[in-house]
């Protein structure tokens, strides 16, 4: 450890000064002369045929520069998933039919907001209203309104309607497993519809100039945005430049191609002027992509000692009007089931169901908080039924280091057992557990535990990241990385790694990021792998530049390069430290004597190099990750049994996130995820009726405020094994930690009150209902 100077430490954020002074530029801050204002016309109906669409009055309004519908597009579809089994399924504007309230039908560009709004109101549309369906179970019935035909591969096997996709997986034989079990439980769990809650609204400004499209947009990866824009606009990739901007929060909600991004681009191409479209908050709540509610049926068989023998799981999602990430979340629910515990026999089925809701997106954790809530709640119930404590049952089933997972992956230095042990010890878990219910008074305290595992950096376009390190004449590096800083701190992390590998100061590192013309491709901030994948590309690039400088110094001194070392922008002879040459002089020497070669280091990293792509979403076959992170989280809650109100008093997160490049940034991720999970647990739900959103503002959709802040402690179980020779064995820490803590909160409420809640959020109504039911039962 002692030889590390910049990684494993917590220098302040590279983007910090810009963000505290108002200089950081976000999409909404881009100003271009002559900019037109774009607006989107959205469907007022959940399901309707468009019978007539007349733009003439809108086009005639002075100040209106262009109006587009699907007829002005190339008709090229896109999708969150684009595979042979799940080809792109959504057009950028509705064609002939709308399948959810808020679906995009037309877009206008005008000289100001008011005229753009007036133009929308002048577009004449006649609809033929069609029957709609909102509940996935209803939508699966054979007589349900058909939104899209069930997937052809599913149709032959299952009688259900509106099935967008299916995941089936398993091993062993669950029937035999249940027969061999001493105890079997079946439970059903549900989660609610939540939104991401990024503070920065979606904003895009597009400018078509000199046959090239320039785009500034709120995203989670500019490589992906460029690919989807180029494809749907039918432009070469090289004709589309997605510029760097800071992004004001994403949490999964800014990955996909959004219709407004396409429309801004297309309108600019038609008008030859910059076009800006900013989504208002009401539209984001009502028509943009939220996360996914899941219904989860779980049957688990265990031995008397709590050893899991068999598990059968069925997950049904509500994917909205197109496939979106619906077919991914049902795959991921399998994955997040598989990671933490040994399950000798598993049968898993996930169904993605179309409904007349807006399309769904990934949301921090992407299925993990839902499925871990279900499994961990049931496991606590099993433990209670068998008289085992929550710590012991988890230790009994937790995976050991270096275990092989059923999908062929290895968990490597999995620290799960250490996490559970440390969490139990630090929280004094067993001493506090079981006390709440026995106390008198109306305020009951409870403690609960959950565990989780998360993958890091799977293979999906563009699969890997490249980084370039250019040495400047003064001996400082300029780093070109496609890695986008959405708040997680990637610019800081990448700078630390380059500083470490090159022996320069953090402040010496100039970073240019996430500009598709200037920077290499990057996996983006959405597949839980940027520190690992882009970080290792940065390590290689800096190492490559370092090697080139060492080679030049070796030439200059005429000694074996292996005798040379670096420190503080100087190369020196290990055997004779007085023989030294600064980076500046190396570069000058190189220019003077070696054809003027400049020094540029290149690095590229791709996880699971020999794997062609991500695993099958339908069968789960194929490698998923080489980087599994683990956590055990403990929640302490207070429940008022008179009002049913509960709050998270204290959270403890013990995690194995691999080597923490910047521990203070890791802590920021932990605290933010605990906060998001308590919103999930207690506050947040997008409520709807007939497809209309009833609470499209932050006044009515309650996100945690500073009053809900919980005490959040964290610790890692990173042992020397990570520090010796592999400081870049970094793992996921940005989204998996919303999961076990959610389950822990549910378990803590049960510890406090005896009320086992099977659906989120844990509202006062549900808790009170449970408390009263228990009171009635105890009287009989």
């Amino acid at each position: 450890m002692s030889e590390l100077n910049y990684i494993g430490k917590s220098p302040r954020r590279k983007d910090g000064p810009d963000k505290v002074t108002g200089r950081a530029v976000y999409s909404q801050d881009i100003k271009l002369p002559g900019t037109l204002i774009g607006r989107i016309l959205r469907s007022p109906h959940a399901h309707a045929r468009i019978v007539r669409l007349d733009l003439s009055k809108a086009l005639a309004l002075p100040g209106v520069k262009a109006v587009i519908t699907v007829d002005d597009t190339k008709g090229i579809k896109h999708g969150f998933v684009e595979t042979p089994r799940y080809p792109p399924d959504q057009e950028v504007l509705a064609r002939g039919r709308v399948v959810y309230v808020g679906e995009e039908i037309a877009a206008v560009a005008a000289i100001d907001h008011l005229i753009a709004q007036q133009a929308l109101e002048l577009i004449e549309i006649e609809y033929e209203i069609l029957p709609a369906v909102f509940d996935p179970i209803e939508a699966m019935k054979s007589d349900a309104p058909q939104i899209h035909p069930s997937h052809p591969k599913v149709k032959d096997e299952l009688p259900y309607s509106n099935i967008g996709g299916r995941t089936t997986a398993g091993w062993g034989d669950v029937e035999t497993g249940f027969a061999q079990s001493d105890y079997v439980r079946e439970d059903r769990f549900e989660s609610q519809l939540r939104t991401h809650g990024y503070l920065e609204p979606h904003a895009t400004i597009a400018h078509w100039e000199n046959d090239r499209l320039n785009v500034w947009t709120s995203s989670m990866g500019t490589s992906v945005k460029r690919a989807k824009l180029a494809k749907t606009l039918d432009l070469p990739f090289s004709a589309v430049r997605v510029h760097k901007v800071y992004v004001g929060g994403t949490f999964g909600g800014k990955i996909d191609l959004y219709s407004h991004e396409y429309c801004a681009a297309r309108l600019s191409m038609m008008t030859r002027r910059p076009v800006r479209i900013v989504a208002n908050r009401e539209a984001i709540f009502s028509a943009y992509r939220h996360g996914q509610p899941l219904a989860m049926e779980i049957k688990t068989g265990v031995k008397k000692d709590g050893t899991i023998v068999a598990q059968q799981i069925r997950v049904i999602n509500n994917s909205g009007g197109y496939r979106g990430s619906g077919v991914v979340v049902i795959f991921l629910a399998w994955g997040f089931t598989m990671i933490p515990y040994r399950i000798p026999n598993l049968k898993f089925e996930g169904l993605s169901v179309y409904t007349n809701y807006p399309v769904r997106a990934p949301q921090r954790g992407h299925g993990c908080p839902q499925i871990r809530f279900a499994i961990e709640s049931q496991l606590d119930k099993i433990a209670e039924d068998l008289g085992i404590d929550p710590v012991s049952i988890r230790l009994r089933n937790a995976r050991e280091p270096w275990e092989q997972l059923p999908n062929g992956d290895n968990v490597h230095e999995a620290g799960l057992i250490d996490c559970i042990k440390m969490a139990a010890e630090k929280s004094d878990f067993l001493k506090k557990y079981g006390k709440g219910r026995k106390t008198d008074g109306t305020i009951r305290r409870g403690i609960g535990m959950g565990v989780s595992g998360y993958f890091g950096g799977s293979l999906i376009y563009p699969n890997g990241s490249g980084v370039i390190v250019k040495m400047n004449d003064d001996g400082t590096p300029t780093v070109l990385t496609g890695g986008i800083d959405v708040g997680q701190g990637s610019e800081t992390i990448i700078s630390q790694i380059v500083a470490e590998e090159l022996g320069v100061g953090i402040d010496d590192v100039k970073i240019i990021s996430s500009d598709t013309d200037a920077t290499p491709q990057d996996i983006g901030a959405w597949i839980s792998g940027m520190t690992y994948v882009t970080g290792n590309a940065a390590r290689q690039a800096a190492g490559n530049a370092r090697q080139k400088m060492l080679d030049i110094a070796a030439l200059r001194f005429n000694i074996d390069v292996r005798n040379l070392a670096i420190k503080d922008k100087v190369v020196f002879n290990r055997n004779d430290p007085s023989q030294r040459i600064s980076y500046r002089d190396i570069i000058a020497y190189s220019i003077a004597t070696r054809r003027g070669d400049t020094i540029i280091g290149e690095g590229f990293w791709r996880t699971m190099r020999d794997e062609p792509t991500h695993p099958s979403l339908a069968t789960t076959k194929g490698r998923w990750s080489e980087n599994y992170a683990f956590s055990c989280q403990v929640a302490e809650v207070e429940v008022d049994i008179e009002t049913g109100e509960a709050r998270l008093v204290k959270a403890l997160t013990v995690h194995d996130c691999g080597f923490p490049i910047n521990p203070a940034l890791v802590k920021g991720q932990v605290d933010g995820q605990v906060s998001m999970a308590l919103g999930h647990a207690f506050l947040e739900e997008v409520t709807t009726k007939n497809g209309y959103t009833l609470n499209p503002t932050w006044l009515d959709y309650r996100m945690p405020t500073i009053h809900e802040m919980a005490e959040s402690d964290d610790a890692d179980v990173i042992t020397e094994q990570y520090n010796v020779g592999k400081p870049y064995r970094t793992k996921e820490v940005g989204e998996g930690l919303v999961s076990a803590i959610l389950a822990a909160i549910g378990n803590a409420i049960c510890d406090a009150t005896g009320v086992r809640l099977t659906s989120t959020p844990f509202t006062p109504e549900k808790i009170l209902k449970g408390v009263r039911k228990l009171a009635r039962e105890s009287k009989h």
Binding site: T21, Y198, L199, G487, K667, S675, I706, A710
Partner: protein, 171 residues
């Protein structure tokens, strides 16, 4: 229709405001909000628009020292008033104590709430240099942050108020 056209051409008036110590005279319509004037006319884009509904607090600026929501404050109401925005917190390259504390405590991730948070925190500390935890929470209850869970923000204010909270980041 006709009314709206009339509205979009409705009489403008000149508003004189002092922003971060600089005098500006701007022509505004009666419907223009302060946030539009700051961002679009004066060019200070550090003040953010998160909801345009007066709920998220990202647009918080100080009006004669008091935190207000610029997205629901009419520009014409600000005639003759002094406004401070995030761009006015540092003196030259020297950051204010609360700006430094935000960097030290990880009080900011995506940064979109940061300007508003800093303005609410600045107003609090100028009025009450040693706020209690309850007073900190009260002062910042109108500012949403989705990234940090607020822990770092509270610690930053406590650091800036001299509570002896150690930085978690290194300078």
């Amino acid at each position: 229709m006709a009314d709206r056209n009339h509205n979009s051409k409705s009489m403008s008036r000149v508003v004189a405001i002092e922003v971060n110590g600089e005098h500006h005279e701007v022509t505004v319509k009666p419907r223009h909000m302060l946030v539009e004037v700051l961002r679009e006319k004066i060019g200070l884009t550090g003040t953010k628009e998160g909801c345009e509904q007066g709920v998220c607090g990202a647009c918080t600026v100080l009006l004669d020292g008091r935190p207000i929501l610029a997205c629901i404050t009419l520009a014409v109401e600000c005639d003759g008033k002094k406004i401070r925005t995030v761009e006015g917190l540092a003196s030259g390259e020297t950051l204010s104590a609360i700006q430094e504390a935000f960097l030290d405590q990880g009080a900011m991730q995506c940064g979109f709430c940061t300007s508003g948070m800093l303005m609410s925190a600045t107003a609090l500390l100028e009025k009450n240099p040693k706020p209690s935890l309850a007073e900190i929470k009260k002062a910042l209850e109108g500012n949403l942050c989705r990234c940090t869970g607020y822990n770092g923000i509270v610690d930053a204010i406590r650091q800036a108020s001299g509570e002896g909270v150690d930085p978690i980041f290194m300078r």
